[in-house]
Structure formats: C-alpha cells, structure tokens
Amino acid sequence: MAAKIGVLALQGAFREHINAIKKCGYQAFEIKFAGCLEDIDGLIIPGGESTTMVKLIEKYNFRPALDRFYKSGRPIFGTCAGLILLAAKVDNLAFCLNYIDIEVDRNAYGRQSESFESNIKLNSSYFKKPYDFKAVFIRAPKIIKASAKVQVLASLNSSAVLAMQGSILVCSFHPELTDDLRIHMLFAGMVKKSLNKPNTDILV
C-alpha cells in the first residue's frame, strides 16, 4: 500500500510541503478538516503563524482527531509553527499538543530582521549524506529544553533545530523552502515504516 501523507492546510506554507512530498514519490493531500485525518498515514504541520493556526485548530475542533492520530502511532512532522504546536511547553501560548518533550521559546531568535539562513550538519546515524543542509530560519522558534527521550538530529549553536521522539519529527527551520529533500525523505521513511508495522513503538 502506498503511503498517503497529509499536510494541514489551514494557513501557511502547505503547498511547498505538498510539492516536496510529491517530489519524494509519495501522495500528498491538503487537510482542511479533522475528519480527513482518518484517511492518511502521516501528517505534516507546516510553517505559518502559530496563533492563527491555533485559532483555526480550536474552531474546527481538530484536537480530538489529532490525539487519535498521534495515539495510533502514525508519524507527524512539524516545521516552525508546526514544531510550536507539537511541543510540551511554549512560553506564552496556552495551546500545546504535547506530543514531543521539548520546551520552546517562540521569540528567542528575534524578529524578521534576525531571520537567517545557515548551513547545518545532520546526524549521520539518520542521514547518509549529513553535510551542508541549507536551513532557513524565519522568526524561528527555539528549542530551549529537550528531555532525554528526544533524539537530536541537528543543532545550531548548541540548541537542537531538528529533533525526533518516537513518531514525532520537528524542525525549527524550513526544509520546504529549499530543493533539498533529505528531511522530507526521512519523514516519508518514518511513514512507510509505520505502515508496515502499525501500533508498534508508540510512546504515550
């Protein structure tokens, strides 16, 4: 069975993720309603404005469906605003899905004038070619604490910027804004693997 990957399409850069997933050779779908989560094997929560996304997630009652999705062991990948939503604790945001044990400061990297791009090195246990990933940070959230359960797949100036815990993958930058598919391929691999052995290694 071919893996189907959904991208939460309430607001933000969802089209870029859909294009990246298609380039990886998988089917990709826009998810605008909670009911659509039943039909997919993996979910990407894209970058955008986290406060806007929280309003729409609450208004369209996504929380119960997202919790079921997570508990079924199907992988979720959050970039930037998506990372914020998946975290256990976020500075002054009341909403947390708490699927990955990280603490996030939304403003630590500063305003747009502090936004930057930088080459980072990926963890060689997960990537065959770990060098020179061009990471684009836009008003990026910072992971200020990660528990021992969280694996760090890349870091910048000693804070994690790409991290994984069980079925959850997060990054504070935007791999969908470059043509480099390595991180999307990693996520697609997680989805494929979870299809082959569903409901295993779920850490709840």
Binding site: L10, G12, A13, K32, G48, T52, Q112, F116, E117, I138
Partner: protein, 293 residues
Amino acid sequence: MEKGTLRVKSGLAEMLKGGVIMDVTTVEQAKIAEQAGAVSVMALERVPADIRAAGGVARMADLEIIEKIMSSVSIPVMAKCRIGHFAEAQILQSLGVDYIDESEVLTPADDKFHVNKWDFTVPFVCGAVNLGEALRRIGEGAAMIRTKGEAGTGDVIEAVKHMRAIRDGISRVASLPYEELMGTAKEIGAPYELVVYVHENKKLPVVNFSAGGISTPADASLIMQLGAEGVFVGSGIFKSANPLKMATAIVEATTHFNDAEILARVSKGLGAAMSGIDTGKMDKNNSISTRGW
C-alpha cells in the same frame, strides 16, 4: 549565517499565505486582530478610509504607535513608507518592523522612482495593478506583491481588476514562444530575466496577496478564488459594526475560500460592513491606485 537574503525575505511572505493582514491604529485594535487570527498587522496612524477623508499629506505613521503595537502582539508587524521615501524606510528598518509596505496609500515622495529595496535587510511588499508593475517592483527587490485595489473605498472592483490583470499577464507570458519574451519585457516595462522566470514557472517569483477594497468574507473568498495567496484588509474591519466578528469571519473565509457552506455560516449576523465609496462614481483624481511608476 546570512541575514536579509531574498530567501529569508520572501520566506516570511510564504509563511503568511492563506492568511489575513489587518490594518490597525491602536494597541487595542492590534490585540483584536491577533485574537481574530490575523497573520500580521499593518501599524498605521489612520486607516485608508480616514486618510482619504482627512486629505493633506499622508506620511509614515507615528513611530510610538508602531513601537507600542510591536510590543503588544506576537504576530509580525508591518508599517508603510511613502513611495520612493528611502529615508522613511531606513527609519522603519532601524525600528525593527518585520515588513515595510512601500505604499500608494501614503502620499508619494518621488514621482519617478521607488525605493531600491536591495539596499535593505527588512523585506518589502509593494502594490501592483498589472504584471509589468509587479515585475518592476520585484526587480527593485520587493519580496512580496499585493494588488493595489482602491484602498479605503470598501469597493472590491479594483482589486478584482488588478488580480485578473496579473493573472492574464502571467498566462499570456507563459504561452509565448521564447523569441517574443524580450519584446514583451520591453512592452510591459519589466526586467527580461523576470519575464523569463514567469514564462518558465507560470507564476510570480514571490507571493502575491490582494488589497484595496476587500471588506466582507465574500470579498475575501472572491479574491482568493481569483488566485490571491492571502488578503490585506484595511478599513474593512475597524470601519465595520462589529470588528472582532468581521475579522474572525474574514480569517475563516480566507482559509475555506472555496467552501460555500462555511462561507454562508461565517457571513451570517456580522452587522453592517463599512459603508464605502462606489469607485465607479468616484472622481478619477481621488484614485490612489494610479500612484506608482
């Protein structure tokens, strides 16, 4: 580590897509906008409808207002400078705003030239009424485009006209044979490399929002269905009877722009939209969408 690259500048616009950017003049309004789900606010001294009514010279807003708004919300804050007024732009950049709108809504400071936006690390959004104008602004370094519409009127017709003009321009350039691209670049007054980009990619190289006259959820849906990637709402929110309700409804309408059932639900019971001005009956001298060169 590189700051202010085109990818970083246009990247923020990518993150605003599918969202609503709202004009605000006070901290209270900025908080209402954030609460309604705005992706960004435009900090102003007066909304366009009031700028029209007041007449006189419209300049960059009072910096204290902009600073207060910046410290009161977590979403990005934009501010406007006059066309060609690079000193206003330098001041706004040093203040740390997230985006500068080089805007025809303010009184132009230069009758021939726009700001050289490559000189700045802060990204710029600029208005356009057709493909040539959009590509000229991008050639000058704009990282985001918005159709101009006719700001402060609450009449959506000009926004529709400009959206269609850009869309038609793109499909025409995309369908031309290569040998006609240079002649077309000359004809529409656009940089040749950008005409080639549009020909090859069938889209603008940066995000394109719509502005100027959008004042109801139905207007937002209309302009999104015509191909806008997000909307600016200026006077439409805080000149309506119930700003929070109107703002929330326009946010939902922008996300679900092609879902008529949701549009019907959010459009109910909003109270009066801004009264507005029929642009067809407006004195042509009062049009501000003709500003920009």
